[in-house]
């Protein structure tokens, strides 16, 4: 299909269906913008649940085996059996019931104290939700959907119905995952990595349907992202507006394009592995169980063969968002646009050959470990290029400290820490010591949880386009600064814990005498984490308030160049008044050709033609 024909075709179709009804507009919508918003809301909802789980994990680590505040029983009651508070009364009543009538709380946290099985479930579900149901839906599902057609000048995705299905299948997988919290035996409790053989047999964890549903949910999620990624790739290849060559696409669109390709190739590997695991659990096969001739580290190879590209699936769109806001608010072209594209492409290729760095001490032949160390060192290079190019973009700019800019800068500085801490783990001998310690937890939160900053940057930057209103800048800035401070107070000290030898995934650090001196750090981290959680209320308030009462946004409130800003805010069904023609790259800020400091991609300059004629 030629570009112009595709654009024209969708144009006509959409004119014909100008006013779909309520259900078609808000629920079973095939409009990429509504689907994007749906993914965004789903992700934000899951962020709240995943975040609350993190708070419970942190409570347990700072105050091991102590009942939670408010819902927990008092110390007197636990010591003496004499109910003191009204909550004590409730616990006494609940616990006196027969086994069959016990509720979820008495089974999982008697007296309001987190138990070891619950703890294992909490970190498993926290991570699963954050990765598969927060970052992926928001970045790829939400902003991917919303931005791809808008930034390339298309009226919708190539396959709008498939797109709608992708959301509903994604939602179904989220519901299955949440449902697994309530099945007998509890939810999955073997970490988000679900290492076999621990997961391959029910007896090993005591979790039955929880783990099965975990697998099923992720298989369903794989179907959803498959539909999404096919759609994104097709749309970007076929439906770019006239003049929108690949090298005139904004970096966010590039990042989503590369992410979609990684998704298309990586997710099926996870799906196969999950199917094998389910067979081991339910049909008696022995893919991962050595007693039947299975291979105990096969799961790890499959999981990380998916898992490492997955990390880049999460982080590439975040890099894309950062590039947009840094350029717009420095009022400067992005430094080394092509270098940025090549760096992302290099990351995409290299991400397939580094998975073994998760397995240096797994029992895999150490000789292969040496190879993986080399590839891992090499993949750090394109990440360094990106960072330096961001710095280059700031250099000589005219920097506006808006809320999205603050979040973009925060993402860069966290990414620097996360990238540098990764070099320690790439060095195999050092990894012997820090593998599976809190050092790892610190590292990946700087990278993956750091994506939250890019998510906030994206939400605050595109909010006017998505919802037609501005968010409050003062609240936004307060939220950005406090989040940055508490994020670092929470995650930086985890490096120190890890260097001190503190293992990850342990329920009670006080069981280890050599960790006692580190316990004050755990308390400090937890208090910072609670503050980090609390300041998110500012965002929640700002988001909801602005949805209804924010100042109306005009088309281009940030004076940005990319095509989405030429549409009304929010864009109507069909997006563009008229399909734009693109004359230049996306980052022509402060160009000497015009008096203003921005130059939209679709503005035709008479002077250029005139100059050409002379």
């Amino acid at each position: 299909m030629s570009e112009s024909r595709a654009a024209k075709g969708t144009h006509e179709v959409h004119e014909a269906h100008a006013h779909p009804g309520f259900v078609r507009t808000y629920i079973f919508s095939t409009d990429h913008k509504m689907i994007g918003r749906q993914f965004l809301f789903m992700g934000l909802f899951m962020l709240i649940i995943g975040g609350l789980m993190a708070m419970l994990i942190r409570w347990e680590l700072a105050f091991p085996e102590k009942p939670l505040p408010i819902i927990g029983a008092s110390k007197e009651f636990i010591d003496t059996g004499e109910p003191k508070t009204s909550m004590d009364q409730t616990w006494a009543e609940w616990l006196s019931k027969p086994e069959s009538e016990q509720n979820w709380l008495t089974k999982n946290m008697p007296m309001g104290a987190i138990t070891a099985p619950l703890y294992n479930s909490l970190f498993t579900m926290h991570a699963t939700l954050m990765i598969f149901f927060v970052v992926m839906p928001i970045m790829v599902g939400g902003f991917g959907n919303f931005l791809i057609p808008l930034t390339i000048g298309a009226r919708d995705m190539a396959f709008p119905t498939l797109n709608m299905l992708s959301f509903w299948v994604g939602l179904l997988s989220g519901i299955i995952m949440l449902a697994s919290l309530f099945v007998p035996g509890g939810p999955a409790a073997a970490g988000w990595t679900s290492y076999a053989p621990l997961t391959a047999k029910v007896e090993y964890t005591g979790v039955n349907w929880g783990q099965n549903l975990w697998c099923i949910s992720l298989i369903v999620m794989g179907i959803s992202s498959l539909m999404g990624s096919i759609n994104y790739i097709t749309t970007i290849i076929n439906m770019r507006a006239p003049g929108m060559t690949f090298f005139r696409m904004p970096l966010i669109t590039w990042s989503l394009f590369i992410t979609a390709i990684l998704l298309l190739l990586a997710l099926p590997v996870l799906t196969s592995a999950l199917a094998m695991l389910l067979f081991d659990r339910m049909l008696g096969t022995h893919f991962f169980l050595p007693e039947g001739g299975g291979e105990p580290i096969l799961w790890q190879h499959l999981f990380w063969f998916f898992g490492h590209p997955e990390v880049y699936i999460l982080v590439l769109p975040a890099m894309g968002v950062t590039s947009e806001v840094l350029s717009v608010f420095s009022r400067k072209p992005i430094f080394g646009y092509r270098g940025m594209v090549f760096a992302m492409t290099a990351i995409a290729f290299l991400s397939w050959v580094v998975w073994g760095h998760h397995m240096f001490v797994s029992g895999m032949n150490p000789l292969i470990g040496a190879t993986f160390m080399m590839t891992t060192m090499v993949i750090a290079v394109p990440s360094a290029i990106k960072t330096f190019n961001w710095l280059g973009t700031l250099w000589g700019g005219s920097i506006r400290f808006t809320t999205p800019m603050l979040f973009g800068l925060a993402f860069v500085s966290n990414f620097v820490i996360g990238g540098l801490s990764g070099i320690f783990m790439a060095s195999t001998p050092v990894d012997i010591f820090i593998h599976d310690t809190y050092y790892i937890v610190a590292h990946f939160h700087y990278v993956v949880a750091g994506i939250i900053f890019a998510i906030f940057a994206a939400i605050t930057y595109w909010f006017p386009k998505m919802f037609g209103r501005m968010m409050n800048e003062t609240l936004g800035k307060i939220h950005a600064i406090l989040t940055f401070i508490f994020f670092n107070a929470t995650f930086f000290p985890m490096h120190i814990l890890g260097v001190g030898g503190h293992m990850r995934r342990i329920f009670n650090p006080m069981q280890y005498e050599f960790l006692h001196p580190l316990q004050p750090i755990n308390v400090f981290i937890s208090i910072s984490a609670f503050c980090l959680g609390a300041v998110q209320l500012i965002f929640l308030f700002n988001f909801i308030w602005s949805l209804f009462a924010g100042k109306r946004a005009d088309r281009n409130p940030w004076h940005a160049n990319t095509l989405e800003w030429t549409t009304p805010s929010p864009p109507p069904h069909g997006n563009f008044d008229k399909i734009p023609t693109v004359y230049r790259g996306p980052y022509e800020y402060s160009s000497p050709e015009v008096a203003e400091d921005w130059l939209p991609q679709d503005r035709r300059l008479e002077t250029t033609t005139a100059k050409g004629a002379h």
Partner: protein, 231 residues
């Protein structure tokens, strides 16, 4: 300057190799971090929006980009080569060992077997003797001797972690994996499990007891009274 006082005391011969690499990377990344952060802060202050000043219009510089691609690439590759020496020493060339032990990891204990004076497993002088209770969670070794550990797995994956000896090795069910260490200082050191292995993972903890030569001889004598010369 060293956040490194946080590392647990190092009591193994190859610990220094691990720690020196750690310090090396710490200084390299520390410098890069400072440079990047300072540059960023300076740019943010110097190039903040000011009335009447326009941003510099540039699309980048290929020379600069080549420089900042090449320098990290060279540093990282050198680092990989430097790391490889320690890695092959620790993990790839397992020495024969002057003392042997076998550790069976299972939910949620370390089950220890000693080969006895003949140094061979599966013979009569193994400890525990047939019918004796298992020896759980305590490993006795002499100081300054190369100890070779056979790691055997039973149910799920566990990870044999001796933080003070800078040794970590996952234990796989149905396989025997070899590891080694040489302790340089007598004492009692924790042996936690570092890989999530189920409900009892937290608290799956043993100890490594490193004896002085005299203590060790006494311990051997106590366990194998009939033999004069233990190893």
């Amino acid at each position: 300057m060293r956040m490194l006082n946080w590392l647990p005391e190092d009591v193994s011969t190859y610990g220094k190799e691990v720690d020196s690499l750690f310090y090396l990377i710490y200084y390299i990344t520390g410098i890069v971090f400072l440079l990047v952060t300072v540059a960023m802060i300076v740019f943010l202050i110097k190039y903040r929006y000011q009335e009447g000043r326009r941003a510099i219009y540039t699309h980048g510089s290929t020379t600069l980009e080549i420089i900042w691609t090449a320098i990290p690439a060279i540093i990282l590759i050198l680092l990989a080569f430097k790391s490889q020496a320690a890695w092959s020493h620790i993990k790839m060339n397992i020495p024969p060992g002057e003392v042997q032990i076998r550790v069976l990891a299972k939910q949620f204990n370390w089950d220890i077997t000693y080969p006895g004076p003949d140094g061979k497993f599966g013979t009569e002088d193994d400890l525990p003797r047939p019918g004796d209770p298992a020896i759980l969670d305590e490993i006795h070794v002499p100081v300054n001797k190369v100890v070779r550990v056979e790691l055997v797995g039973k149910d799920v994956i566990h990870s044999f972690f001796l933080p003070h000896l800078r040794l970590k090795q996952d234990v796989l069910p149905g396989r025997t994996i070899l590891a080694w260490f040489q302790a340089t200082k007598p004492g009692r050191y924790p042996l936690p499990c570092a890989e999530l292995c189920g409900i009892g993972h937290s608290g799956m903890l043993g100890s490594l007891i490193v004896h002085t030569p005299e203590e060790y001889a006494a311990w051997v004598k106590e366990k194998w009274p009939s033999t004069e010369k233990a190893q």
